[in-house]
């Protein structure tokens, strides 16, 4: 499989701080993969995002994006390959209409006018915002704003999209809108995604999860594998899915579940099996 992002032994220390914000981070992201990075506030995940797009220089170690080593000379080249959507929907608009806003990045890269309007239309269609092309960005809802921000990023045809807590300031319906759009981008356009989040629904959608704590990657695996660590995740300040927590509590109360369920249907159905088995033995 083609490696899109390769991070090798990267450490980072903020000026005037004694401790390292990132320590010996190594991982790879493959083409078409959806990787989620989780960790509590202050675990180093946002610092990592800033390093990936060259907003901060790593103290040691190397980062390659599409085979290009990231350094002062290549940073602009690397940024063409990475699109990033930040947390705050209100902080990333420059244009007076949705169209102008998506055009901004394209203009900076000197894209021809015809090509530009084609890309704007395509990008807005992909995030289902084509009906808002002449709207003012500040009048959109939070979820719509973030979808426009995603459109601005994908119009530049990056190889990877980074979502840095892009849904955390949205209301529940806004969160759903954005996740829905990201899913369709992955399904239909095989976009490579690195999402940084605490949202469990977002974690569950990933191919692979990296858990960060105190500047290190401490766990790595599929969502099911990661959630199986249970209380260890809670100690790191992370949440567990509802069904999993409930499975564990029921087991403690001697309800003999065979596994920790990741979804409600599974748990309800095993409880029903247990319950019917018990009532059968009683009737016999």
């Amino acid at each position: 499989m083609e490696v899109v992002v390769r991070v090798e032994d990267v450490s980072f220390q903020y000026a005037n701080e004694n401790i390292y914000a990132l320590q010996n981070i190594s991982f790879q992201v493959y083409k078409g993969e959806w990787v989620t990075i989780v960790g509590h506030n202050g675990s180093g995940k946002s610092t990592l995002a800033k390093l990936l797009i060259g907003l901060l220089p790593s103290t040691s170690g190397t980062i390659h994006v599409c085979g290009i080593p990231l350094n002062e000379e290549t940073v602009w080249d690397v940024r063409k390959r990475l699109g990033i959507v930040f947390q705050n929907p209100d902080n990333q608009f420059v244009g007076t209409t949705v169209q102008d806003d998506v055009a901004f990045g394209l203009e900076n890269q000197g894209i021809q006018k015809d090509e530009m309007s084609k890309r704007i239309n395509e990008a807005l269609k992909k995030v289902k915002m084509e009906d808002f092309i002449h709207h003012e960005p500040h009048r959109l809802s939070g979820g719509q704003k973030q979808r426009v921000a995603i459109a601005s990023a994908i119009a530049l045809q990056p190889n990877v999209i980074i979502l840095d807590e892009a849904t955390s300031m949205l209301d529940p319906s806004g969160k759903k809108e954005v996740l829905h759009v990201m899913e369709s981008l992955r399904r239909e356009h095989h976009m490579t995604v690195i999402s940084i989040t605490h949202d469990l629904n977002e974690v569950a959608k990933a191919d692979r999860v990296l858990v960060m704590n105190k500047g290190r990657i401490v766990l790595e695996g599929t969502p099911a594998h990661i959630f199986s660590y249970g209380s260890k995740l809670e100690q790191m300040g992370l949440d567990l899915p509802f069904s999993l927590q409930l499975s564990q509590q029921l087991k403690q109360k001697h309800i003999p579940l065979t596994m920790d369920h990741l979804n409600m249907e599974g748990l309800v159905s095993e409880l029903w099996t247990l319950y019917s088995a018990m009532s059968n033995t009683v009737t016999k």
């Binding site: 300031m169 529940p172 300040g237 509802f242 309800v268 409880l271 319950y275 018990m278």
Partner: protein
């Protein structure tokens, strides 16, 4: 401080083509010392409502009683400053309002504005930091050098420093990680108990409302459509779903169990403990028979 709204309406930009009725038919009683959650979609009028709680907005019709203060539509109210000391509002993402060079100065800004002497305010900074779970270490740091969660705590400390009787919280946990959310909600609950503060919480999180509030107010398109205790509100799940609101996972799970097992639990399960208990009873019954 009791809060009473009578027939309150608010229109933005009255007598212009942009006139918009954002709030209407609002009748509310919030008892001193209670914990009320206000729930509704973006655009339901929640923010307009909460800005009436300290006179930032005044009704265009009706009356708002805030303790000894009465704000009536059409009457100019001059002395609102003391009221604003009694009702502290923590807006969404309050960390965006930090501005001072040090955490200490930022926290002292509010109380000094209301006439507290600088040395008196400084003497109490440690107490206020402790209230929000921050250590003395951050005192002389720039608030902008702190993490997002710490910045939010500093901003909240700045509001608590004015020692309000009513604390209004607009989405105080948005954007925090799970541990941060829980710690913050526990902190507000203990403030309510220890300092007998009234808390008005605006939230999207049904879980938070179910767990912490004595009473829930549901707003929809500018008015109040439901109010009651969490038990009363979550007895009518279909109503909530119909309004397009989320329902706590505990309630969804309870419904799934009730349908599959063909049983009916006595009361809505608002916490995971409730569910565990109900299920234990269900299983115990089958063992006995």
């Amino acid at each position: 401080m009791d809060i009473v709204f009578r027939d309150v309406e608010h229109r933005y930009q009255v007598n212009t083509p942009f006139e918009k009725r954002a709030l209407y038919d609002i009748h509310v009683d919030i008892r001193s010392g209670s914990y009320v959650a206000v729930i509704g979609h973006t655009g339901s009028g929640k923010s307009t409502f909460l800005q009436h709680l300290n006179g930032l907005l005044q009704p265009t019709k009706g009356t708002v009683h805030l303790g000894d203060y009465t704000i009536t539509a059409g009457k100019k109210e001059k002395q609102l400053k003391p009221l604003r000391k009694k009702v502290g509002i923590v807006f969404q993402f309050p960390e965006h309002q930090l501005f001072e060079e040090t955490v200490e100065k930022d926290i002292c800004f509010g109380p000094m504005n209301f006439g507290m002497k600088e040395e008196d305010a400084k003497a109490r900074v440690r107490e206020w930091l402790t209230l929000v779970g921050l250590s003395e270490d951050v005192r002389h740091k720039s608030p902008f050098a702190l993490s997002g969660g710490q910045m939010r705590r500093v901003a909240i400390a700045g509001v608590l420093a004015m020692e309000p009787e009513v604390l209004v919280l607009d989405e105080p946990t948005a954007g925090l990680d799970p541990r941060g959310r829980k710690e913050m909600m526990e902190m507000f609950a203990s403030l309510q108990q220890q300092k007998r503060m009234t808390i008005v919480l605006v939230t999207h999180s049904m879980e938070e409302a179910a767990r912490y509030a004595d009473e829930i107010i549901i707003m929809h398109q500018g008015t109040i459509v439901r109010r009651g205790t969490p038990e009363q509100i979550f007895r009518h799940v279909d109503d909530l779903l119909h309004l397009g609101l989320d329902v706590p996972e505990t309630i969804l799970f309870q419904r799934a169990i009730e349908q599959k097992f063909g049983v009916q639990f006595d009361a809505p399960c608002l916490t995971m403990e409730d569910i565990v208990q109900s299920l234990q009873m269900l299983f115990a019954r089958v063992k006995r028979t």
